[in-house]
């Protein structure tokens, strides 16, 4: 059975105890954001997500979306659930109050995103894309477009999309062909075909606002000649209500491995009216504002699905009776012991738990920096936060989604044959989690972004925002009686990260294929060290709190045990990754294309 309760206790730990939510209110626009308010918001969001969204997760998977004559119907129940979600004001949770949003900081909203991804990933995509489009418009569109479109998108009665992909171009957007012709009145006529557009057509909102990448006449070739346009499904009338149908039509939807409740659409644009967002030929830059935050959100998808898979696996492992504990029956009154007694099942459960809680902590750290970057009063702090988020974005995207898929697959393993069949719903997690490694820039491309852009940027300045605090922390805790056994291995892993970084900088400069060959291993190595740092910091807090934890000692003990598991059993993978990186590209690139 799909089992999910929002991990509110762990979320509160990360937010309040690890990253200190009491300082949030010092940031611009966060004056009212106190711990008790945060708890109330998380609790109510948790209620909505478990009672309204989670029950629709298997429904959406089984039914999928239906396409007929240009119209797409979402699965049974999605429309009502969306209405409840929008009426509750949740759609605008992270949006600027200027446009009708609630302006909550990412430090809080990231957790709500996670809950939605756990409960119903497909559903979450609809508001998720609206938010992406919102961000591009807020940051780059002229005031008049903002006024016309943002309030309704923030409210959620209109939704958004991002239209990049075309049949012949996914990763390499330089090949993009969709054209935009200026009309002389400030508008453009846009013609081309787009594929794989999430939420490109559906029945949840009265209008859909597409953000479309296209080329102006005589635009330079490649990515430097791409502009961004806002193309509504219905052109708004003077009074702001949806008017005539625009020339953008859904010509079909994809049948997919998973994510069935989300409509993945082919769109045909035929002289559709649109308006420029940002400057001509600077569309990629505008798109990247939203891509970066979307990439972090896709990382959260990995975590969300991984958490649901973990909870479902725990529930089953306590209940499924099979075999006896190797050390002798633990439940002699039962025909067999529950499988949670077996070391191998423990290995799965602890791995999932350690990855999930580690990712949640890291996500909280990145979210705090997203907030600082936008809301801090100190320019230096803002710059540092921006460096840190830029550095961590590809790591969060690729590491979290890789681990999310691993966790979903482990969840199925715990269920045995009962996980592979449909009835228990846990194989859905595997199928749903798989896409997050592909869209918003494949994980391979994230690794290239880390190695090719983020490492060399400003002579390695971004790296400082991570390396400095981690190094200082390790140094300060080496002699700590409790933490010593955890800090030692972390220090070693961090050393490997430093070596690997130097190695790539040196080799990659001479031969870009060397950097490319190391990229994916390097990203994972980096990510595992970041999780290790989070785990030691969490153990640090847990050791301090354990003593005065009236009645909650078990929570902190579990944190410490999970930290040990991560450091002892998962972090050692770093050594293997460093070995692979050192070996270089030679064997990888040896074969001729024809030899495959």
């Amino acid at each position: 059975m799909q089992t999910y309760q929002p991990p509110l206790r762990d979320m509160r730990f990360v937010l309040h105890e690890l990253h200190g939510s009491d300082t949030l209110k010092d940031m611009k626009g966060c004056e009212d954001i106190t711990p008790d308010l945060i708890d109330a918001v998380l609790e109510e969001a948790g209620k909505l997500v478990t009672e309204v969204l989670a029950p629709l997760n298997p429904v959406g998977d089984a039914e999928g979306c239906k396409y007929e004559n240009g119209v797409v119907r979402t699965p049974t129940g999605f429309k009502d659930a969306y209405k409840t979600y929008v009426e509750g004001g949740w759609n605008g949770i992270a949006c600027d109050p200027e446009w009708g949003g609630q302006g909550l900081p990412a430090s809080v909203t990231k957790f709500i995103e996670e809950m939605m991804c756990s409960a119903n990933l497909s559903f979450g995509l609809y508001p998720g894309l609206t938010h992406g489009a919102y961000q591009a418009i807020v940051s780059h569109a002229p005031q008049e477009l903002k006024e016309r479109f943002l309030p309704k998108m923030v409210e959620g009665i209109w939704s958004g999309t991002m239209c990049l992909t075309e049949p012949h171009c996914g990763t390499d957007l330089g090949l993009l062909r969709t054209k935009a012709e200026p009309q002389g009145d400030g508008s453009y006529k846009i013609t081309g075909s787009k594929i794989f557009i999430s939420a490109g057509e559906h029945d949840l909102t009265e209008n859909i606002i597409h953000l479309v990448l296209a080329r102006l006449p005589n635009a330079p070739k490649g990515v430097k000649g791409i502009s961004l346009f806002l193309v509504p499904k219905f052109l708004p009338k003077e009074d702001g209500t949806p008017g005539p149908r625009n020339g953008v039509l859904c010509t079909g939807i994809e049948h997919k491995m998973g994510l069935n409740g989300s409509a993945t659409c082919q769109l045909s644009l035929d002289e559709a009216t649109g308006w420029l967002v940002g400057e001509p030929h600077k569309g990629m830059r505008a798109m990247f504002t939203m891509m970066n935050s979307e990439r972090l959100s896709v990382g959260t998808q990995g975590l969300g699905v991984g958490e649901a898979a973990y909870q479902s696996a725990v529930a089953y492992a306590k209940e499924r009776l099979q075999g006896r504990a190797l050390t002798g029956a633990k439940y002699p009154d039962k025909p067999a012991d529950p499988i949670i007694v077996h070391p191998d099942v423990r290995r799965s459960l602890m791995t999932m738990r350690a990855y999930n809680e580690g990712c949640r902590a890291l996500s909280g750290w990145v979210a705090r920096n997203l907030d600082l970057m936008e809301r801090s009063n100190d320019p230096e702090e803002r710059q540092n936060a921006e460096d840190f988020t830029a550095l961590m974005t590809p790591i969060v995207k690729a590491l979290f989604t890789d681990l999310g898929f691993t966790n979903a697959s482990m969840g199925v393993q715990v269920y045995g044959g009962h996980g592979y069949i449909r009835d228990h719903g846990v194989e859905q997690y595997v199928r749903d989690a798989r896409i997050a490694m592909i869209y918003e820039g494949t994980n391979g491309v994230q690794a290239l972004d880390l190695v090719g852009r983020k490492l060399p940027a400003h002579m390695g300045r971004y790296l400082r925002s991570f390396f400095h605090p981690v190094l200082a922390y390790i140094d300060s805790k080496l002699d700590d009686e409790n933490l010593g056994p955890l800090v030692g291995p972390l220090g070693k892993a961090f050393g490997a990260l430093q070596l690997a970084t130097g190695h790539i900088a040196e080799k990659g400069l001479k031969d870009p294929d060397e950097a490319g060959a190391a990229a994916t291993d390097y990203l994972r190595l980096f990510g595992l060290v970041a999780l290790g740092y989070m785990w030691v910091r969490m153990a640090d807090v847990a050791f301090q709190k354990r003593a005065e934890a009236n009645g909650e000692a078990a929570f902190y003990e579990a944190k410490i045990a999970t930290a040990r598991f991560y450091i002892d059993r998962l972090l050692p993978e770093v050594a293997g990754l460093w070995g692979s990186i050192k070996a270089g590209k030679a064997a990888m690139m040896a074969l001729d294309d024809a030899a495959f």
Partner: protein
């Protein structure tokens, strides 16, 4: 018309309740607590009366420890206008609750009081009735429909074998049953606003009410586990067992 809605902080309905090892009660530390579900229905009904332009103000009152203010915040987040916390760490039995509410009502002068028919922790199902008796007001318990009609309220009650409608002169007491309505989710803007709504703090002493328990709990025990069933070989064996052993036919 002012509407008063008492709300109680209880163990969340999802929690699997465990009896304390010494049998003095159930384990409440670090257990998720929420608003009694019947009280959520009461708040919802009051809010609907306000949205219909019938009620002018919805006041939520909770009697309990400091954390009961969270329960009041929930009511405020749903849309209630203000809260009153009657703070006490003692176990308050229905009679004491009714006496405190009577005192609150004397100050607040509501025309209608909507309570849950029972709280899901002790399932007493007494407070509304006792309160009505203490005040000498009419009572419409187990309500599945509430209609205000001038100076009266028509309450459709769930009773054995059907429904009964009573007409009560206002002011009156109504207690809610499950079918009365489906409570709303608190909206995000309202959660944020709830923080700024006032909660008055009072005490049982201030109202001159002695909350000392009148009942003594002897012991609390887990329900006995279910016994294994028996398989019957045929319909006639089943019929025979139902007749002879169970004595039900």
């Amino acid at each position: 018309m002012k509407v008063l809605v008492p709300v109680k902080r209880v163990v969340d309905y999802n929690v699997k309740v465990r009896v304390k090892s010494d049998g003095t009660g159930v384990e409440l530390s670090h257990v998720k607590m929420s608003m009694n579900p019947f009280d959520e229905i009461a708040v919802e009904e009051a809010l609907r009366l306000k949205e219909a332009g019938i009620a002018t103000e919805v006041v939520a009152v909770s009697i309990g420890p400091a954390q009961a203010s969270e329960t009041l915040r929930t009511a405020l987040a749903m849309g209630a206008d203000r809260g009153i916390l009657v703070k006490t760490d003692a176990t308050v039995e229905p009679l004491a609750v009714a006496k405190i509410l009577k005192a609150v009502i004397a100050e607040e002068a509501p025309r209608l009081v909507i309570l849950g028919k029972q709280a899901i922790d002790d399932d007493a199902n007494q407070t509304g009735q006792m309160l009505a008796a203490l005040l000498g007001w009419g009572q419409g318990t187990f309500a599945s429909k509430v209609v205000i009609d001038g100076d009266a309220v028509l309450v459709t009650r769930e009773i054995d074998g059907g429904a009964q409608t009573v007409r009560l002169a206002l002011p009156a007491i109504v207690t809610t049953d499950l079918r009365l309505n489906e409570p709303r989710y608190a909206s995000l803007p309202n959660i944020m606003k709830a923080k700024k709504k006032p909660i008055d703090e009072k005490s049982p002493d201030g109202y001159g009410v002695d909350v000392a328990p009148r009942l003594k709990v002897l012991t609390t025990a887990e329900p006995a586990g279910r016994k294994a069933g028996v398989k019957v070989g045929s319909v006639s064996e089943l019929v025979a067992k139902l007749k002879d052993e169970a004595g039900v036919i």
